[in-house]
Structures are given as structure tokens and as C-alpha cells.
Symmetry: C2
Subunit: 420 residues, 2 copies
């Protein structure tokens, strides 16, 4: 089955919005083993849409549309597809009832043009829309399958996943074309891409099924494993086997899979060890605390995060010695260490982290450039302060510093820092 994705909307052509729908549809289809050969964007123009539909029928058998299903006159996808196929439209009673109910429930005045959305091509399947007024359409004719989806991603994606993918899966099963293609992403931290590739050389050189693609992602490297087969269980087993093989080479450098984040990996370790945490941030301005509190249940381990931005706050809240600030500067190893010691003491935490640095722009000196940062970790009978030189914009320096602090904390929780 060859697929073309057609996104309809002048706002896409003008660059006002990004075509994330094409990406998301392609990903979901790939999971069935369906290859997308073309993606096209066309405006709300009947003549050009007609031409695009005809061209797609020359080079694809599955044609998936997004957009142009709404109630107004410039929503053309429904009518244009039907006209090209020579199919007449008919009212869908089920959807008409739903729409009228919807409008009366929310006491919204009912505009007559909403009824356009109840018309679907004869013989097509109406796909109910839980999050909007325009239903989707699933239409088979000859060797073609047409799928019409609404444009807003929050309506499109649930409809695609819950309704369209199962329909296509059944169709592919019947025709014996179903292939299963699944990916898994391993998140690697602490190893650059080139070093990673070197360590994995043997595995990468002999890759076949799954394939393995490394991708640098900010301060991390992601390894995308993609496997194919006839059955989901078989494909998952291939992925798991290869993931384990990679982990046996990379060890703790792999901190998680798929949607995992570094803060989640750290949160799991803190919970498993039953340790509490306190944070003292200066240049990161609350970002580290924000990331750790994005994890549900973070109140179990996180006691406080003090953003001591001014020198006075460092002295008053954390007990930093004003003499240290005066002699060494607020951005110094000494002050970082006093900050982590102070926040651990005043919060009564098992472990503490502190960050002080120059996020810029400005505030730098020849001795202390923008990006210079000290991160300190304290725990029972343990204390470590590291110096970093980050680069980038103010926001990027904040991000890199917070990431480095999480990395340090993870190493500590894995009992790796003492060995270094």
C-alpha cells in the first residue's frame, strides 16, 4: 500500500502554522508498515485541490487528508474528493443528531452552515469526532482508500489512532499486507555521538533488523531502534533483545527509553532509595526545581528549591559567608559548596545540589566569562563541586546547567561519583 498525505489549508502555505499532521500521520502509518511516498500541502482552492487529488490517485492507493472539513465555504476537502470520485453526498443522520445535541447542551446558537458537516459521500464510513464538530470520513473505492481527517491536531490525532489505524490494520490483515514496524528510543547521556558510535561499532556495523540510528539531541544522544516483522510480539522481542545488547555495552550511559526524561530517571532513583532532596539555584533561576516538580509525586522527595538570586539571599537563607562572596565572587567553587551545604542543613535534606553561574548576557569579566558555572552536591560524608563552561544563549546556558546538575545527581545516586 502506497500512501500520500495531503494537508489542506492556506494557513499552512503561508507558514502561519507547521504541518505537524503530516509527521504524525506518517509515524502512525509506519507502525503498520505502510510507506508514505509523498506529502503535499495545498490551499483552500477548489481547482488546485482537485488537481492534487487526481495526481495523488496516479501515485498512491491510500490517500490521507487533513483539514478542510469545517463548516465554512472554504472547507472544500469533503466535496472535492466526492466530486473527483463521482460520488454524491448524503446526510448522516447520526452526526446531525450529535451536532444538534452538542449545540443545545452548550447553549451555543446553531449556525445553519454547521449542517454541511453532516454530509458525507454515499457509502463512506462516518468517523465520529469526540473533540470537534467535523466528523472524519473513511471511503473505499476500487483500489483506493480515502481517509479525511479534521485539521486541528487535537481532533485529528485521537481520530487517527482510535478509528483509522484499526480500520487500516484490518484491511491490511485481510489482504495479507500487514507488516509491523515499531521503534524504541534509548536515551544516552554523558557520551558524545562520536564516542558512542565508536563504542557501538560492532553492533552498528552488523545492524539489520532492528536498524539503529543515533541522533544528537541537545546534551543527550538518542538511539532509535526500528524493527519490523509480522506480529507485534515478535517485533517487541527484537527491540528488547537489541536494547539489552546495547545497554550491556553502554551501561549507565543509557538512562531511559522513549518518553523518559532525565528528571524522571532521577526521580525514580530518589524514590527507590528513599532519599530527600533540597536545591539552591542561582543562575538557573528555578529551572532545575521546575523540571523535578514536573514529575507527579515529586513532593515525596523534593523538600525545597531556593532560588537565591541576590547575594543577600545566599547569605540569609543559605548561610553563605559574605566574606566568601566578597573574596571569591558569587560565581565560585567556594560559594557553590557553601550553597549546597547551606541548603542541605536548613532543609534537613539527605542530598543537596547547588548551581551558581553567569547566564549572561553581561555580568561577565575576563576571568569569569558568560557560561562559567559551578555545581555542587552534598550528602552525608560526601561533597563535590565541579566547574563547567557552558555556551549558548541565556536560556540555553540555564538548560545546560540544569541538565548537568541532574546528570551529576544521577551519577551520585548510582554510586558512581565516588569512583571518579
Amino acid at each position: 500500500m502506497r500512501c500520500e498525505i495531503i494537508a489542506v489549508g492556506t494557513e499552512l502555505l503561508m507558514g502561519q502554522i507547521t504541518n505537524t499532521n503530516a509527521r504524525d500521520i506518517a509515524r502512525e502509518l509506519l507502525s503498520l508498515g505502510v510507506g508514505v511516498y509523498y506529502q503535499t500541502v495545498v490551499g483552500d482552492n477548489e481547482e488546485r485541490l482537485t488537481e492534487v487529488v487526481k495526481r495523488a490517485m496516479e501515485r498512491a492507493d491510500l490517500i490521507v487528508f487533513s483539514g478542510g472539513l469545517g463548516p465554512t465555504d472554504d472547507d472544500l476537502t469533503r466535496d472535492t474528493v466526492a466530486r473527483v470520485l463521482g460520488i454524491s453526498m448524503e446526510k448522516n443522520e447520526e452526526w446531525e443528531k450529535k451536532l444538534l445535541e452538542f449545540f443545545s447542551r452548550f447553549k451555543t446558537p446553531f449556525a445553519e452552515n454547521n449542517l454541511r458537516q453532516t454530509m458525507i459521500p454515499r457509502g463512506a464510513l462516518m468517523l465520529p469526532n469526540d473533540r470537534g464538530t467535523a466528523p472524519g470520513i473513511f471511503l473505499e473505492k476500487g483500489r483506493y482508500t480515502f481517509v479525511l481527517l479534521p485539521g486541528p491536531p487535537r481532533e485529528m490525532l485521537p481520530m487517527l489512532r482510535a478509528q483509522v489505524i484499526p480500520l487500516l490494520k484490518k484491511k491490511l490483515e485481510t489482504s495479507g499486507e500487514l507488516a509491523v514496524l515499531q521503534s524504541r528510543i534509548l536515551h544516552v547521556i554523558g557520551l558524545g555521538e562520536s564516542l558512542l558510535v565508536e563504542k557501538l561499532k560492532d553492533i552498528l556495523d552488523t545492524q539489520d533488523n532492528p536498524t539503529i540510528a543515533p541522533l544528537a539531541k541537545g546534551t543527550e544522544v538518542h538511539l532509535r531502534l526500528t524493527a519490523h516483522g509480522r506480529f507485534p510480539g515478535e517485533v517487541q522481542a527484537l527491540l528488547t533483545q537489541k536494547a539489552e545488547e546495547i545497554k550491556s555495552v553502554l551501561g549507565d550511559y543509557v538512562y531511559g527509553e522513549d518518553e523518559d526524561t532525565l528528571e524522571l530517571a532521577v526521580a525514580r532513583l530518589l524514590k527507590a532509595k528513599g532519599k530527600t532532596l533540597a536545591l539552591a539555584e542561582s543562575c538557573t533561576g528555578g529551572l532545575l526545581t521546575h523540571r523535578l516538580t514536573n514529575i507527579p509525586g515529586s513532593s515525596e522527595y523534593l523538600l525545597s528549591g531556593l532560588v537565591t538570586y541576590s547575594n543577600e539571599a545566599k547569605v540569609n537563607f543559605l548561610g553563605v559567608d559574605p566574606v566568601s562572596i566578597q573574596s571569591k565572587g558569587a560565581v565560585s567553587a567556594e560559594v557553590a559548596a557553601e550553597m549546597s551545604a547551606g541548603v542541605r542543613r536548613v532543609c534537613g535534606a539527605d542530598i543537596s545540589l547547588s548551581i551558581t553561574g553567569i547566564a549572561g548576557p553581561g555580568g561577565d569579566t575576563p576571568q569569569k566569562p558568560v557560561g562559567l558555572t559551578y555545581i555542587s552536591l552534598e550528602a552525608e560524608n560526601f561533597s563535590l563541586t565541579r566547574k563547567y563552561q557552558f555556551w549558548g544563549s541565556r536560556v540555553e546556558i540555564k538548560e545546560r546547567a540544569a541538565q548537568a546538575a541532574l546528570y551529576l545527581l544521577r551519577r551520585f545516586l548510582l554510586d558512581k561519583l565516588k569512583e571518579e
Copy 2:
């Protein structure tokens, strides 16, 4: 001039990356008044790319490519375009010199296939690439203009802006087709989209040049004004005039333009008034402090942000009465008020803000559902606590609460809170 944008790359078709290049190219072209009629994505396949190029020549005269310019065998754009046009390739000596210099400077081994990137179609203009090894190509033939840009956005966008747009502008000036099209975005907060449209009814009903498009963006509404004309000065004047007209109706609901953020608007007000700020966060977990410290120079006004996540931290750092926590709960108007009073006192700040709420999932009770949040603001002779019920995921609730706190602070700094 009719344009088609063609992005080349199998990773786009597989949904592994998003086609942001098409969006960015469309936006830049629109600023010259050039309309994009089609966007196409095709994989690294010679036959299909050839077909796509030929089709584009039937329906566009400006064809802009991104991707497929690299050194490997599956980088096909350069050769395919030249072959379709019947133009031979020749070595660009200037770029060969640059490449050899580059590799020797970074002591990188020079792979022979890099030389493929020095070949450009005879008669075409080579566009130097400051950030990568593949140059761009600008080629005119008959009524056609072909622009070939590298795929990585960080290489593509600077080349487009600094080299391609000026070339196209000159071309359009010569042919008398140059139009200037510019946009300005007004950021509105505190008014829903429907109320906003009602207030602006007269202006929206008579819109012509500029056009005005409202767009809901999370807790804000953005108004995009787009004007066209022959000269940039004329277009800017049209935009400024309409923006002023809208502001005279909406008043303080408009907090900024274009890239402005609410935290930047608040930062400007704090600096203008010379006021200092201290924050006490619970459920937002540092997000409010993080946003305010993203603004360069925030140390001028921000003294501290204390993320008092645990009850003990609220008592110890902010002097919240343990009896209040026990009788009213940590998420209550009383505790919010004590938090803002406490953080203002201990930091010696002019103004303080506090946030306490239930970000979920979990931690809720029948009386206190997920999303319940109290925000309190204290200043000299002023104190206000407001109750909110936010909805969404944990991260969304954090975002909405931080946004509401910034909004409250802005209203206070504009002397609007006393009137309410």
C-alpha cells in the same frame, strides 16, 4: 511569481522530523509578497524526485528545495535538478578551497565524497554556507528560478535570509513585481477570543489592509495584522496605525507585540518602577521564577524565589503558621496570604507573589480538586488573594498558574488591581 517548496528527505516522509523548513521558507517569501501555492515532500529517490521537479515546473516559476545537498549518494537534489534542466555540472573552485581549509583547520579527515558538494550546475550562483559543508545554489533558467538550500534548519534559514531573499527581492524589483507584505502580532491577555472579537467588531468588519486574524494561544489571544504595499515604510505605517487603533479599544489587555512574552512585559514594568520582587511557589515548583529569570538583567529586580514544596519549608522559610496549614490546608487562601507576606518580609522585597495549589495527578479531595490554586500578592499597604480553578495535565496546570500570577502582577504594576 508562483512558488512551490519541495523538501527532500526520507526522514520527513517517515515522520521522524517535522517539515519546519517549508513553514519558514513560506514566511520569508510572503514578506516579499511571493505566494506559495504548493508544498511537497519527497524521499531520497531519484525517479520520484524527478517526477516532482517536473510537476513543479508545470505549476510554479519559483521552486525552492531544502535537503539532499549533502556529500552522500542519497543526496540527489543537485544532480536531479541539473539533469531535468539539461545543464552539466562543474566544480566550484571557491568552495573547494573553503572545504579543504575547513577540514584542515579542524583536523578532520577529509572524505573524498565531500567533493560532491563542490559541484554546481553551470551558470548557477554558489551560495556559501557559513554553518555547514554544503553550499546552496541559485539558478535562473528561462522563466524559472531554482533555489537549492541545505536541509538542516540552522544552515538553511541564515542562507535563505542573508542570501536568497535579497536576490529574489532584486529580481522582483527589476520585474516590477515586488510587493511588501509584513505582519505584526499583538499579544492580548485577560480577554477571551469571543469577547475580544466582540470588542473589535467595528474594526474587524471593516478590515482591508492590514487584515486582522485572531488566534487563541493557550491563555492568550494573538492578533495577527498583515499589511501589504510597495515600500516597507508604507507597510510599517499601516501596521502601526492599525495597532494603535486596536490598542485604543483594548487598552491594557494588549501587553506586547511580536516576540514579547508576559514575563518580559512584567520585567519592563518592574524596572521602570524600580521595584524589587520575591516569590514563594508551591505547586508551580519554580516555573514562575524560571520564567522571570529568563529575562536578561532579571537580577535587577528579582531577589529570591523560594520553592517551599513541603509544609516544613513553608513554616521554616516563610513563617507560615503551622496552625493555618493544619486547619485550612496548605492549599488555602490563608496559607497563600501568609506565604506572600512571609516571602516579602524575609527577602525585604517591595512586592511578593505566592502560589499554592494542587497540580495533580492525585493529592486532591472532594473539597479540593486537582487544579484548585490560590495566588496572593502583597506590597506596601496592599494585599490580595485570589482563588482559581485550573484544568489540564500537571504541566498545564503549572503553566496556567504561573501565567495567572504574572497577569496579576502586571495588573498590580499598572495600578489596576485597586480599582477592581
